[in-house]
């Protein structure tokens, strides 16, 4: 009796193993007609997410081609004070430089708290790419839904960027013994830097940059680590 039960458990385990890896392989195949709007596709997604969700494209098919920087200005409570053209501070480059000096730190993780939502603002987020492609292909029924979801995601990303960028203003306040009123607003600007294309690789002047203003927001009083303390 016990022997049969053990056999049954082993059979069950092998079936689970086979099912799991078939589901994983199917989940990782490129977008195809079997996955799109079919019961099988829905079943597969609900099996894989959230516990076995995975993406292994790793810089493919198209690797990241731009550096997305975040420029900030800490502004006082007074609504008349506006961002000044030459006062923008790039708050990502010093983090990257610190990470390059010492790889065994959490600087990379910290930079991701800014960089990932920044990319979600300027690009279509990964989970909406399929729907956006359908919209581009002329499926008008899906366009409105994509638009609403993208706006919602963008607003959430701006809020995440605002929280992460507030660390700089909170550090600035602590270092200069200012009151919160003197840094209670934060101006945000995205700078997208594109390195020269391959054919102009020795000509630095061919690098381009584009700025996008994200407006002035209220600074978040985060539990801010003194991460910018030792940086220029």
């Amino acid at each position: 009796m016990k022997k049969n039960l053990v056999k049954l458990i082993k059979f069950g385990a092998i079936l689970i193993f086979l099912n799991h890896f078939l589901q994983t392989i199917f989940y990782l195949t490129p977008t195809n007609i079997l996955k799109e709007d079919t019961k099988l596709g829905t079943l597969n997604s609900s099996y894989m997410r959230p516990y076995f969700d995975q993406v292994w494209t790793l810089f493919a098919p198209t690797p990241v081609r731009t550096d997305t920087l975040l420029l900030v200005q800490c502004l006082p409570k007074n609504p008349d004070s506006k961002p000044k053209p030459k006062r923008w501070v790039d708050i990502l480059t010093p983090i990257w430089k610190a990470n390059q000096r010492n790889r065994l730190t959490a600087y990379d993780r910290f930079s991701r708290t800014i960089e990932n939502p920044l990319r979600d603002i300027i690009q279509i987020p990964f989970h909406l790419t399929k729907a956006a492609k359908k919209c581009d292909a002329g499926d008008k029924s899906i366009c409105e839904d994509v638009k609403i979801k993208r706006k919602k995601h963008r607003d959430k990303s701006i809020d995440n960027v605002r929280k992460a960028a507030s660390v700089y203003c909170m550090n600035y306040m602590q270092q200069n013994s200012l009151s919160f009123d003197e840094v209670s607003r934060i101006a945000l600007r995205i700078r997208v830097v594109t390195p020269p294309p391959w054919k102009d690789r020795y000509d630095k002047s061919k690098a381009t940059q584009q700025d996008f203003d994200l407006g002035v927001h209220s600074t978040v009083q985060t539990k801010a680590p003194l991460i910018y303390r030792s940086m220029p």
Binding site: Q54, P61, R103, K156, W198
Partner: protein
């Protein structure tokens, strides 16, 4: 069923001994070390990453259902993050030391999932892979005592799962690259190396060389697609050695410390116990040869010593 297939099936269904025990222990050690490394480097930022007044943006409800609400409540308390981190650290330490490996992997998988789900924006591919591997590692058995047959069956199934997962990672990464113009034209490494976020300035200059750029791009694609085949041939050790070098390169160039270390740990798991014995014998013979070379210089050292004694 042919006799060969029947034997294979019997090997899986009623195994007589555990496979890849040394490799499994190495993977446990690497996983434990990885989790400890993350805790200790990120501890000063813990409240910021996962606390109430930090940047958490994810919901635990998708992962843990109603329990997720309780966990969120805990994490919103002043010391909630630290309670989770203490449990996480203990599990990581046990995993690193190879004690109660199954239980440690289960607890580490749970706490790691809580932290990843709470703040998804700080994760990378290494976290994604380790999260999945920790589930399989629950069934590994690396104790020195030989366990019963059912326990052996589950250990071996966990090893097969880890091997299958690594094959899937490599094959997907390789075939995705084949679909990208940047990779097939050889410009991909140049493009990645120009970015401040990922690369040191030195590599930015290095990959301006067309030969190096195309070699790096093509070698990566060939290796990633060839990996699932190579590990079943006699070139397995060489393939794994190449993979370790590749990931050390990624670690230095791109600073993806966690991703590279998880990949290296996983590749070391693929070596069988016989492979480890072969490597140990080879290593010992290399050490012996070095010893013999040093021995040749011994008379000179002796002469020097006697000169010193005379002075």
């Amino acid at each position: 069923m042919t006799p060969f297939m029947w034997n294979q099936w019997r090997e899986i269904f009623t195994p007589k001994k555990r496979i890849n025990v040394v490799g499994s222990r190495v993977l446990q050690g690497v996983a434990g070390f990885f989790l400890l490394y993350r805790v200790f480097t990120e501890l000063p930022l813990a409240n910021y990453f996962w606390g109430l007044h930090g940047i958490p943006s994810g919901s635990l409800l998708h992962h843990f259902g109603p329990t997720g609400a309780m966990l969120e409540h805990l994490l919103n308390q002043p010391s909630g993050v630290h309670i989770i981190l203490i449990i996480h650290t203990l599990a990581a330490l046990l995993l690193f030391l190879g004690r109660w490996g199954g239980l440690a992997a289960f607890v580490a998988a749970s706490t790691f999932m809580i932290l990843n789900a709470r703040t998804p924006s700080i994760g990378d591919g290494g976290d994604n892979l380790l999260q999945i591997l920790l589930f399989y590692m629950v069934f590994l058995n690396t104790s020195t005592k030989e366990p019963g047959q059912t326990r052996i069956f589950f250990h071996n199934l966990a090893v097969y799962s880890i091997i299958a997962q690594i094959i899937i990672v490599y094959y997907t990464a390789g075939t995705s690259k084949l679909m990208g113009e940047s990779w097939t034209s050889g410009k991909a490494m140049y493009q990645i190396a120009q970015l401040q976020w990922f690369s040191l300035p030195f590599f930015g200059s290095l990959f301006k060389n067309p030969y190096l750029a195309i070699l790096a791009s093509y070698a990566t694609i060939v290796y990633q697609i060839g990996f699932p085949y190579l590990i079943f041939t006699r070139y397995k050790i060489l393939a794994i050695a190449f993979g370790i070098i590749l990931h050390l390169g990624i670690l230095v160039m791109m600073g993806l410390v966690t991703f590279s270390s998880v990949m290296i740990g996983s590749e070391l798991m693929l070596l069988t116990d016989t492979d480890y014995t072969k490597i140990r014998i080879k290593f010992n013979s290399v050490i012996k040869n070095i010893g013999q070379i040093v021995q040749k210089f011994h008379p000179i050292q002796e002469a020097r010593r006697s000169e010193d004694a005379i002075q």
